[in-house]
């Protein structure tokens, strides 16, 4: 804990904590994506998987105990990432109060400029997503425990499906810069592997995008129904 506080005190340390929390979410997203792809194996497999998440760790842990512990860790990481993003953004905004009349974009990538607004969009999407697929308040026909049913009916509307696709595009963009930035922030630039960092972040971004988007596309196309 003391180490975390030491890091938190400096701008570079804050970025290191952002890289760690971002990495945790990247790990989650990859797992979540693989889980979602079980929808292609049909309702029984998918519902079994969703049920399994709830009873994971039983009987050593109480029912949904593991799930709640996991949610607590991931939410903490999310909030921390967001607060650090907000703090570092404020530091940077204060660091240049009057801008340039003329300015060329010298950044390595287009994606890096969208981290902050993209992040805000991701936040909104995550809140919507939980109310839609997890708790059901924003779902037209939510059935408790009917994960597959909720998925198919929830993504049946082209507008909602498009929103999911857009959100995944933003996440992919965030990760296109984020994964590269994470290596850089954690100081992982071994000369032997440093040139692989950019292609890897592109591959991760594309994989996340395609993996997630395949679901709403499949629902709309009637492949998953």
């Amino acid at each position: 804990m003391r180490r975390v506080v030491t890091l938190y005190r400096s701008s570079v340390g804050k970025k290191i904590l952002m890289a760690v929390t971002g990495f945790m979410w990247l790990g989650f997203l990859l797992g979540h994506m693989v889980g979602n792809l079980k929808a292609f194996q049909g309702a029984p497999m998918f519902d079994e998987y969703a049920h399994h998440l709830r009873v994971l760790g039983e009987p050593i842990l109480p029912r949904t105990g593991f799930l709640w512990a996991f949610r607590a860790v991931m939410s903490t990481a999310f909030v921390a990432h967001l607060l650090l993003a907000w703090q570092t953004s404020r530091q940077s905004r204060a660091a240049r109060q009057s801008g340039y009349r003329k300015r060329e974009d010298l950044n390595f990538t287009f994606a890096s400029r969208w981290m902050r607004w993209g992040g805000v969009f991701i936040l909104i999407f995550v809140v919507f997503h939980v109310l839609h697929m997890t708790t059901g308040q924003l779902h037209p026909d939510f059935v408790e425990g009917g994960a597959y049913h909720n998925l198919v009916t929830g993504l049946g509307s082209p507008v909602v499906a498009a929103l999911y696709a857009l959100a995944m595009l933003v996440v992919a963009l965030h990760l296109h810069h984020g994964v590269w930035s994470m290596f850089q922030t954690l100081g992982a630039n071994h000369p032997k592997y440093a040139t692989l960092r950019r292609p890897l972040s592109t591959i991760v971004a594309i994989a996340i995008f395609l993996g997630f988007v395949s679901i709403p596309v499949a629902v709309l196309a009637g492949v998953v129904s």
Partner: protein, 253 residues
């Protein structure tokens, strides 16, 4: 060649600034950018105006004093040169050229294009040194240093402290400057004793001076007249990580 210049004019640190337009006529394409400003200033002086204040010294890309934003790029359109090494052949007849000072809270404008870069000096004072006994010079090669390390340290040592990295950075962060020094000293045996206190002290100073937080955009590397790589930033981050670990361990014990 004939050019239209839009130059930031500001009479003093607390005065409001404005862009003024000047028409530079019959400029040789072999003139350097600073010579262009000299010519404009001669005209201005002759007509009773105030010459444009800009910083310059060596005029050969070594001292780092001549930085200015030219058409939205630090040191102008050519890469790997300082403003004093930029020649008018890099422009076209009839061009409009916008000239602005570095913009950063840590670099207050003193006058026109001159900014106060002493925040960078204070960063160096915070940790950009090594403690050695003075006296007669040590024997050459008394301390063997691997060639790769020596080369990399030299790459970092090329920094001329011009501030282009800060000027280009969307966050007005001085990470490239700081990391060049941290890398230069941290790669050499002489820099090891203070390696981790150096990096933590410099980062603390960096934040206190009002620079922004690096988000790895990479604009600094593109703007650097010495081509210093963001690899140095990764190295600095690694030392902050290791240094914070050690510092916390020391505090705890």
């Amino acid at each position: 060649m004939n050019l239209t210049l839009h130059v930031w004019r500001q009479d003093g640190p607390d005065r409001a600034g404005r862009f003024e337009t000047y028409h530079a006529k019959d400029i040789s394409e072999h003139a350097s950018f600073l010579e262009l400003l000299d010519l404009v200033n001669e005209d201005l002086t002759r007509s009773g105006g105030e010459p444009i204040a800009f910083e310059h010294d060596c005029r050969e890309g070594i001292c780092g004093s001549c930085g200015m934003m030219i058409n939205g790029v630090p040191h102008g359109p050519r890469s790997m040169v300082a403003t004093c090494q930029l020649h008018m052949r890099s422009f076209r007849d009839g061009d409009d050229i916008w000239i602005e000072p570095w913009r950063a809270t840590a670099f207050p404008v003193i006058r026109d294009l001159v900014v106060d870069r002493s925040a960078l000096d204070r960063l160096i004072q915070a940790g950009g040194f090594i403690s050695v006994r003075t006296g007669s010079a040590p024997d050459a090669n008394a301390i063997p240093i691997p060639k790769d390390d020596a080369d990399q340290a030299m790459d970092g040592a090329q920094c001329i402290g011009c501030g282009a990295c800060v000027a280009a950075c969307p966050n007005a962060s001085a990470m490239l400057f700081m990391s060049a020094k941290v890398g230069h000293l941290g790669l050499l045996p002489q820099g090891q004793p203070e390696r981790y206190t150096r990096v933590l002290d410099m980062v603390a100073r960096h934040d206190a001076e009002g620079f922004g937080t690096c988000t790895n955009h990479g604009a600094c590397q593109e703007a650097c007249p010495k081509g210093i790589s963001v690899d140095f930033i990764a190295r600095l981050n690694r030392d902050v990580l290791a240094g914070s670990w050690k510092a916390a361990t020391v505090e705890a014990s």
